[in-house]
Amino acid sequence: MNIHTYEKVWIVASMVLIVGFIATITYGAVGPGIAMIDDDGGDINPDEINDDERFAEPGVEHVGGNEYEVTVVAQAWSYTPSEIEIPANSEVTFYVTSRDVTHSFSVVGTNVNTMVVPGQVSEMTAKFDEPDEYGILCNEYCGEYHHTMEGKLNVVPEDEFDLTELSVEADDEIDAGNETTITANVTNGMQEDLETTVSLEIGNQTQEEDVTVPGDGSEEVAFTVDSADLDEGDNDWTVTVDDYEESGTLSVVTPEGNESADGGDGDA
């Protein structure tokens, strides 16, 4: 075959370019470790998402150290959760699946970008070094309001981040002269123990208790409240732990032959 000299030079140069490209990409995979979305996430039946261990309650979970897992369910035309908060200096693995059609989960301005195909779980890991706010959008057409599908990813400073949850159980009413208990339940989603103080404010009283909530566990704190310390009628209360607050109202009522307006207790 007759090939002109210049053509030979060109062919060799082209091959060098092509091999160079492949080498660069390979380096990206094995050097900095840029992994592709692959089949690690496994598959899932879209009808069973609500019963799935991972996706039944989508959101942020702490794995340990600076590692977190975020599960997200995409559906036309929103993400659950729609707003995600993670700490800076963290390594986050996202698990995303779809309830209906094909979507994407794309964190704008980053290389967190994956297709979300029904029946499949997309898994990808990314590092977030600095606090920042990112938009999340769907860049795969998913129906007529596709353009409204968005979310937020907030990377907050490490010391402002926790996975604490507070819930409070309390009676609405107490007979004058009795005692009641207001129980605060503090859940710690982090793997490390959480040392904190739970406080209750009621009337003009404040009670405090130091607790250690174990990693990935919860702790109950019971505050005993004596009606004698309260005013007749409504008493507002607030339970506080770190930045979390729950509040309610406790009414002190007079038992037996009371003159409360409704008097409906006796209705059969």
Partner: protein, 582 residues
């Protein structure tokens, strides 16, 4: 004595003319819809509802990348086979048959898509007539059965066109047993072979999975499987519509430059490489898909990178041929020869500018092909910029420039206005320059593609250079210029066609070669061998990924029903619905 194509093959000329006009009609409608989209997306002028944007987008995609390109292709290939074999097709009735079949298929799919604009679309076969599923029709988005049937009929029509070209070639071979396959016919045959290989995927996907499912015969689909079968076809199709442009660059552009093709053997090598590699790389469109192991993606990437070779070789041969032509015309110096090229000829200038834009497209394509860099640009407006340089310029502008040569050949009438034609191709180049540079840049900061209103409540885009407003203005301006260019093209075609006969039409010939077929080994013409290797490469690239997708999700998926998200829903309902979900 005039010796235009019309004089040599009057019967074939009529079919080819019909195919070109079908192509122009698709171009006209699809092009205008492009303007509607550009103005809507950029918020310059919104006169449709945003949900209708996706109907417009579906029509724009299907009409331009399937109907426009492939009708032009079948016309060009029929011309190339008959011209280079110097014999007519075996039976023009067969030629008309496949052409009509393609028209029926295109019309059926087109009507189904456009029915999506109706307030209440008619119900046929138990479901509403529409297909707001875009060009990719990813399940479980579901279209009306007519959409899928239309596509299949169109593709089968193109298969029969391939049969026609092969039949004509076999008849020629019996008459000329020892001759090499003429280069244009060689290009047609190799292209047709990989078209058969790649369309098998999408046809099976439609006939086995999507059509029965949309008719309600089967209950469920495996979305990843049908998606993978689409992309098995979806990248080869881009080479399919590119090959007529390559054919023109190899066999006509050297002639218009005033010289000869630099090398026939390398042209054959290029087309053999396309036959081998254009299918086993479709997974590079699925770099970001879950459920496909990284190794398979790597194989697709390697094949993609090696497919750069034929395009790089084409760049060399085409530029070398142009230089040869320029020197024949008295051009001198290292770069001074460029001035000697026939820049006042719209056919030459259109093709040369298209080739120049294709070089730029090659660079953005290399970025897309790099699987980990692709994370940054996947499904952003960058990709739209990329394929407006490839199919939107390299292919479309070459086709329009070629039409200035073809239509006089097919009608025996002189081109209505050469100056308007020259202005038209230059305007296309300018319009695309505005539009595609802005689209590419916007992808780098994450502006999504396929979106009616890329304005979000919770965040703003942060371009490194320029502003979102400036990018939108460039796209809108580019689209207006392109539409003007398109109008001038169509005007020229209409005026030429209604003009009067002329005796001064150039002879129907194609470019001679400096280094001819005799310089290449005969094995290059062994189509059976290359087809066999191509099939083996496809088997290597696809068996394992398909097996693991079917293994995980089953042939018909885990009970995944169709979603027709295209029926009209009150936006307020959606608003409250999404509140509830939150």
């Amino acid at each position: 004595m005039r010796n235009a194509y019309l004089d040599q093959f009057p019967d074939e000329a009529r079919v080819i003319k019909a195919a070109f006009w079908s192509s122009f009609i698709a171009l006209a409608i699809g092009g205008v819809l492009g303007l509607v989209q550009a103005l809507h997306r950029t918020d310059v002028f919104r006169f449709i509802q945003s949900p209708d944007y996706y109907t417009v987008l579906t029509a724009h995609g299907v009409l331009l990348v399937i109907v426009f390109t492939i009708f032009f292709l079948v016309g060009t290939f029929t011309w190339a086979v008959t011209t280079s074999l110097d014999r007519g097709v075996v039976d023009t009735r067969f030629t008309w048959a496949w052409y009509i079949m393609m028209v029926i298929g295109a019309a059926l799919a087109g009507i189904t898509i456009f029915s999506g604009f109706l307030e209440s679309a008619p119900s046929i076969l138990g479901s509403e007539l529409n297909a707001d599923v875009l060009f990719t029709f990813y399940a479980p988005l579901e279209a009306h059965p007519f959409f899928y049937i239309g596509l299949v009929v169109f593709v089968v029509g193109s298969w029969l066109a391939g049969v026609d070209w092969f039949r004509t070639w076999l008849a020629w071979r019996r008459e000329n047993p020892d001759e090499r396959i003429p280069l244009p016919t060689f290009m047609v045959l190799t292209t047709t072979l990989f078209w058969y290989i790649c369309t098998l995927g999408v046809s099976l996907s439609i006939l086995v999975f999507l059509l029965p499912w949309s008719l309600g015969i089967t209950e469920s689909v495996n979305p990843l499987l049908t998606r993978t079968m689409f992309w098995y076809f979806g990248h080869a199709v881009v080479y399919f519509w590119l090959m007529p442009a390559y054919l023109m660059w190899y066999t006509m552009l050297p002639k218009f430059s005033g010289g000869k093709l630099f090398s026939d053997p390398l042209a054959r090598v290029v087309f053999v490489l396309f036959l081998l590699l254009s299918t086993p790389l479709g997974i590079h469109h699925q770099y970001l898909d879950p459920g496909i192991a990284e190794g398979y993606k790597f194989i697709a990437m390697t094949n993609t990178m090696f497919l750069l070779l034929p395009s790089l070789l084409t760049a060399f041969t085409v530029v070398a041929s142009m230089e040869h032509g320029a020197r024949q015309r008295g051009g001198e110096g290292y770069l001074g020869w460029l001035k000697a090229l026939p820049w006042r000829d719209p056919i030459f200038t259109g093709m040369a500018l298209a080739g120049l834009m294709f070089a730029a497209a090659g660079f953005s394509g290399m970025i897309n092909a790099g699987m980990n860099i692709n994370y940054l640009v996947h499904n952003t407006w960058w990709v739209v910029g990329h394929f407006h340089l490839t199919v939107g310029t390299a292919v479309a502008l070459t086709f329009m420039a070629a039409s200035y040569w073809f239509i006089p050949q097919l009608t025996g009438k002189e081109l209505w206005n050469r100056s308007v034609a020259l202005g038209q191709v230059v305007l296309w180049f300018i319009g695309m320059t505005f539009m595609t540079n802005a689209m590419h840049r916007s992808g780098l900061f994450g502006l999504p593609r396929r979106t009616a209103e890329p304005q979000y409540q919770g965040f703003d885009f942060e371009p490194a250079v320029g502003t979102v407003g400036e990018i939108n203005m460039q796209v809108a301006l580019g689209a207006v210029i392109l539409t003007l260019s398109l109008a001038l093209f169509l005007l020229n075609m209409v005026m030429t066609s209604i003009g009067s006969n002329s005796e001064s039409i150039p002879d129907n010939t194609y470019a001679d070669t400096l280094s001819g077929a005799e310089d290449s080994p005969r094995i290059l013409d062994n189509l059976k061998l290359w087809t066999a290797i191509a099939v083996v490469l496809v088997i290597i690239a696809y068996t394992l990924p398909l097996a693991s997708i079917i293994d995980a999700g089953g042939l018909f998926g885990p009970d995944i029903e169709g979603f027709r998200l295209s029926t009209w829903v009150d936006p307020a309902v959606i608003e409250s619905l999404s509140e509830v979900i939150r």
